[in-house]
Amino acid sequence: MNIVVCLHAPPPDPDGTGLGRDDTHALAQGLALADATDGKMVALLAGTSHESGPLQRALVAGASRAVRLGGEDYASVDFHTLGQALASGIKRIGADLVLAGARSDDEGLGAVPAAAARNLGFAYIARVEELAAAGPRAVEVVVRGGGRKRRLRVDLPAVLSIVGATRALPPPSDRTGNPSEVELMTLNDPETTVVRRRTELLGKPEPASRGTEEVASAAALVTALARR
């Protein structure tokens, strides 16, 4: 099974792992599934060379390849454009299954995997908690919704967004790979370029005016929260 895991560069955090929380789960699930199916897992990220840390982590953890989509400022594009760019890269890499962290895009929206699925023409399922192989052309997933927790078999190809699981997965283990082997892929797809010129980050930023009020007791905390 050929698996692509889409990663995102999280904001700089000296105490962080260099990976978004859901990205960590997506990467661990992708590696486990590649092992179980004798497949390959490719890590993919759209960003600058300064943002390739997650790809280096993926290589160290055992990814077959790590590919950076470059050539554009992806920090200033909306989820439509980012999804389209990732889809273009995934088409060139080739994938049966695409995994992404559910809330690991810039704004925590979870919309990039859906946009990528639409551009790929793949099935899309959001917020997958558990993932296992179900033969060469299908996977089993666990999702919640409508008051039910369900186990589903999903035919491939598919894009799945991964959410932090109930049973915490261990972080990817240090196995193989050379962190210096991040490949650069530039997109020259005219269609992608046209859309990129037409779109921009959606919405108008507004400053937030709220600060943090420190209180001395739980009762004061509840009172402050109840006060609107």
């Binding site: 929380r21 925590g108 919640r144 959606l202 400053p207 739980a218 004061a220 402050a224």
Partner: protein, 335 residues
């Protein structure tokens, strides 16, 4: 992508989540929010119900009382199951083709995370995973019959908001509203029902292998959520759960992570270091109870912060919090 001219028709669509045959509380709240802005914004509020059977008249009347001007029933095999983009997306797309939206407002804790991003992608619109519905300061319509109505959401780092106005963007906006408590019944039970007969996709590509009751469903729907880090110590979760009044849901930060990821509560209290990842909407209130240590206030998305020492002080604080929870019971109501 829906043509711009049609996309600006002043329709506000609320996809309704049905559980055990009844609309969820956040669904009714979302309709109520739509009703709140409907007159000023000049919008028509549609409740969209995807169902595998004929829509019950009593349910339609309930949706009307909560705020729907009209009910759009998408009827087809399999649509009574929990929603997925694969199974329910085509029905929802049929609804938005019939009624081109200015805004699509998903209720909290329901189909929004599954269907919202795909719908926004299909519409070429904006998406907000947790947002408040707002009316603009200027009441002057910007287009025929369209007032200034928009949603506002936090940016991921919670340092600023992002305002998504469908008129400014010239695109529809898809958003997930918070769970806001009981709706105000300002609508009418006499509501028109329009039916779309939906043909199931020829090849769905998904098969249900097993299904069980979601033990975390209440957390996903909660207007007031208390997220307890298990590292706080044994007993904290049980004591807070026992003390929680109606409308307040207490959940383990680790075991409940999947539901917490879906929840859009009005009020959040994070007890311990985990859980403060929930920022809610701009109108949500976030409280954090943090043990002393390497706490970093700059990284805590809390409106109200209580620092406590470890050990006995933490236990006493939990007891104090248990005794104070009754005061939260009405805090989930919108202002």
């Amino acid at each position: 992508m829906i043509p711009l001219r049609e996309a600006h028709l002043p329709n506000l669509l609320v996809p309704i989540d049905i559980q055990d045959g009844l609309p969820t509380a956040p669904s009714l709240f979302a309709l109520s929010e739509g009703r709140r802005v409907a007159h000023t914004a000049g919008v028509t509020v549609f409740a969209v119900v995807m169902t595998d059977r004929h829509l019950d008249d009593a349910l339609a009347a309930q949706l009307g009382r909560a705020g729907a001007d009209k009910v759009l029933a998408c009827e087809g095999p399999g649509l009574g199951a929990p929603p997925l983009d694969l199974t329910h997306g085509p029905a929802l797309y049929a609804a938005v083709e019939r009624i081109p939206p200015l805004l699509v407002l998903f209720p909290a804790g329901g189909a929004g995370p599954q269907l919202g991003p795909g719908l926004a992608s299909r519409l070429g619109g904006a998406f907000a995973a947790s947002a408040d519905l707002e009316l603009g300061e200027a009441l002057t319509p910007l287009a025929d019959g369209v007032g200034r109505v928009f949603v506002r959401r936090w940016r991921a780092d919670r340092t600023s908001y992002r305002r998504l106005d469908p008129v400014e963007l010239e695109r529809p906006v898809v958003a997930i509203l918070p769970a806001g408590g009981a709706p105000a019944d300002h609508g009418s039970g006499a509501v028109d029902v329009e039916v779309i007969t939906c043909v199931p996709p020829a090849k769905v590509g998904v098969v249900e292998l097993a299904s069980e009751v979601d033990d975390l469903a209440a957390a996903a729907l909660a207007p007031i959520l208390i997220v307890v880090d298990p590292a706080v110590g044994e007993g904290a979760l049980a004591r807070l759960s026992a003390a929680a009044p109606a409308g307040v849901t207490v959940v383990d930060a680790v075991a409940g992570a999947p539901a917490i990821a879906t929840a859009v509560p009005r009020v959040v209290i994070a007890v311990g270091a985990r859980g403060t990842v929930i920022s809610g909407t701009p109108r949500s209130r976030v409280g954090a109870v943090l043990a002393a240590g390497p706490a970093r206030p700059g990284k805590t998305p809390a409106d109200v912060l209580l620092r406590v020492a470890e050990g006995d002080a933490t236990k006493a604080t939990i007891d104090d919090l248990c005794a104070s929870l009754a005061a939260l019971a009405g805090a989930g109501q919108p202002s």
